[in-house]
Structure formats: structure tokens, C-alpha cells
Symmetry: C2
DNA sequence: CTGACTGCAAATCCTTTGCAACTTG
DNA sequence: CAAGTTGCAAAGGATTTGCAGTCAG
């Protein structure tokens, strides 16, 4: 269900996410705290896409060591996006986050049955995007492409279910 | 600011949106009400992209003739999407709606300065999408592509502002 | 008539914010 | 120490829902 290893090959970066974030904090006169350190570690030890809620579910509960309040989780996720560590986008009302730092540009396929996000890379898509933008005099800052549908696995399962229903 | 005429040529359809929705209601044993009639008319008399709030702002106020409560507006927008009259997608946290029935498939450029949505059509994008999906064994139901950036107009204005700032 | 629909208000969901206490540099 | 941070609880915004009265078929 979850794919904790990256689908795409990593991009070479000179700093670890931790170091990179530290740099970001220092250049802005912000502080390195236990909560922030813990969250960088936690987030970069998994690779799945996640939303704030899913993240908090795997964090220590209130009272336990390393507990981080939800306000801080939300605040910190925004900092990670500012710092270029994470990217975020909206999907079905929730904000989904994914690794950006050290991870290549890509787009998504979204299975509306199992609700899993799959990644793909397409240089042709980027080229096409640039052409369209040029035509319209647009200065591009980025794009978001999501293909909706049903993944291979879910197509199989559905077929199975149908057969069973007939018995 | 608003473009009340379509950017793209309409697609031929045999029924008006009103008729099409009536058909939808009948096949499901649902009812034709004044609120629903009024909303179809209102929505298909303009062409801009809109969210629930923007729509309600141009509807009659409470107490006036043809007032529709916000609960009904939300309920009806969902029906329009079900009925294939409208499409919806998420942009910066809000749900944006646009005409679907009688309007060709297209994608968007979003200007992050003036927050306007521009449309474009690209057959190459659809082809590319189908190829990617085929590779991954995906059964496509649709896609959403948005290019973010700054539109021609806003680029101009910004340049002007910069010059003024220097005076 | 009967079930669908509407408006109202309350409830939800997700996220942000004000504030007092607590850290970090 | 001063300023940035945190947790808490309360506030927000957008959307949904329960319910009793209303209306269409």
C-alpha cells in the first residue's frame, strides 16, 4: 500500500535535508529546535506522499517523548515548503506533501479507487508546457499535472469482485 | 477581469444545459425546482470560472426574489457536476467550477498575480497522457493540468511598478 | 399524498492564530 | 536576555448535515 522507497532515482544534492534546512534557518535568523529537527528526520525517513493528518498519526502522542503539537506540525510543514524541502498540492480537499529536495521533478497518476499516487517523469510534458506558456506570454513558475483513473491493481481486483458477485 | 465570453469555441450539443439537466433529474426520479432552474440559467449565462462564494455574491440576497440558500447552492453545484454540466477542481484551497457541457476539453494557465485562469487546448498533451497511462496500466478517467506563472499583463504592470519605485 | 427539496442553524473538517510560558542563540 | 517557538485553546473559512416545514409529481 505505502511505498516507502522512492519510485524515481534521487537527484544529487550536496547537503542532507537536515543540513539544508539548518542553512535556511540560519540565513533567516530562525532557530533550530527539537521539534524541527525531529520533523525533518521523520519526514525524510519515509518517501510516501502524505497530508498533515497522516503525518501526525505516525508521530508520538501527546505526553510521549518528542510529541509535537498539531499547530507546530502545520507551521513546520509550511516552513519546509518555503525552504524547498517539500512541495505541496491540493487533492480532494486536503493538502498533500511530497519530497522536493533531492528528488526529481515529476507528475502524478492518481488512482481513484485505492487513492494512491503514482509518479511519472516526462520530458515531453515539460517541453509542451514551455511551448504553451511561451505562446501566451506566460512566465512559468511551475505546473501540476495529475492523471486520474484506476490503477492496474485496482482494475484486477474489481474484475475479481465482479466474478465473485456472479457466483 | 472576467471573461464572460468563452475563450474556446463551443462543442455542438443537441440539448441546452437546462434540457440536459432536466433529463438527468428525470432519469433519477429527482425534481425540477425553481432553485435548480434558476441556478442552471444563472450559471450558463456567464462563462467565467467561479467558486461557490463568487456565485452566491451575484445571486439575489436573502429576502429577495429567487433567493437560494447557500446550503442549496452547494448541494446543487454537486448535482451539476454529477450531471456533467460542470467540472470542478481545487485551486488554492477553494473549489473552482467551470462549464463542461457544450465546452471542449482544455487545460489551464493560472496567473499567481491577478489570480486569473486562462485556457488552452493541446492535443499533444492528451496523447502524452494516454501514453503515460498505458505504460502504467492505468484506466484513465481524466486529468488536470495547471501551469502556474505570471501572465503577460501582470508582467508588464510589474515592470511599470518597478520603474516607479525607482523614481 | 408521499417522497424529494429547501432553508436554517448547528456541526465538521482542516488549518490558522492569539497568547502566555518556554527556549535558543 | 531578547526574540523566536511552542502548546493550548479558540477562531476561521469552506462545506456538509440534521431537521422540520414546503413543494413537486
Amino acid at each position: 500500500m505505502s511505498n516507502s522507497s522512492p519510485s524515481l532515482p534521487p537527484v544529487d544534492v550536496s547537503l542532507t535535508p537536515q543540513e539544508r534546512f539548518e542553512e535556511y534557518l540560519q540565513t533567516r535568523g530562525l532557530r533550530q529546535t527539537n521539534q524541527r529537527k525531529f520533523l525533518v528526520d521523520e519526514i525524510f525517513s519515509h518517501h510516501e506522499h502524505f497530508d498533515a493528518d497522516e503525518l501526525m498519526e505516525r508521530l508520538p502522542r501527546k505526553g510521549a517523548k518528542n510529541y509535537v503539537s498539531s499547530a507546530t506540525v502545520y507551521r513546520t510543514l509550511r516552513e519546509f515548503v518555503d525552504a524547498g524541502l517539500l512541495k505541496s498540492f491540493q487533492l480532494e480537499g486536503r493538502t498533500v506533501y511530497e519530497h522536493d529536495y533531492g528528488y526529481p521533478q515529476h507528475d502524478h497518476l492518481y488512482c481513484t479507487v485505492c487513492r494512491e499516487l503514482f509518479e511519472f517523469q516526462s520530458e515531453a510534458l515539460t517541453t509542451l508546457r514551455d511551448e504553451v506558456a511561451a505562446e501566451q506570454g506566460f512566465r512559468i513558475s511551475g505546473h501540476r499535472m495529475i492523471i486520474h483513473g484506476v490503477c492496474r491493481e485496482c482494475s484486477k481486483n474489481r474484475r475479481k469482485k465482479r466474478k465473485q458477485d456472479l457466483v
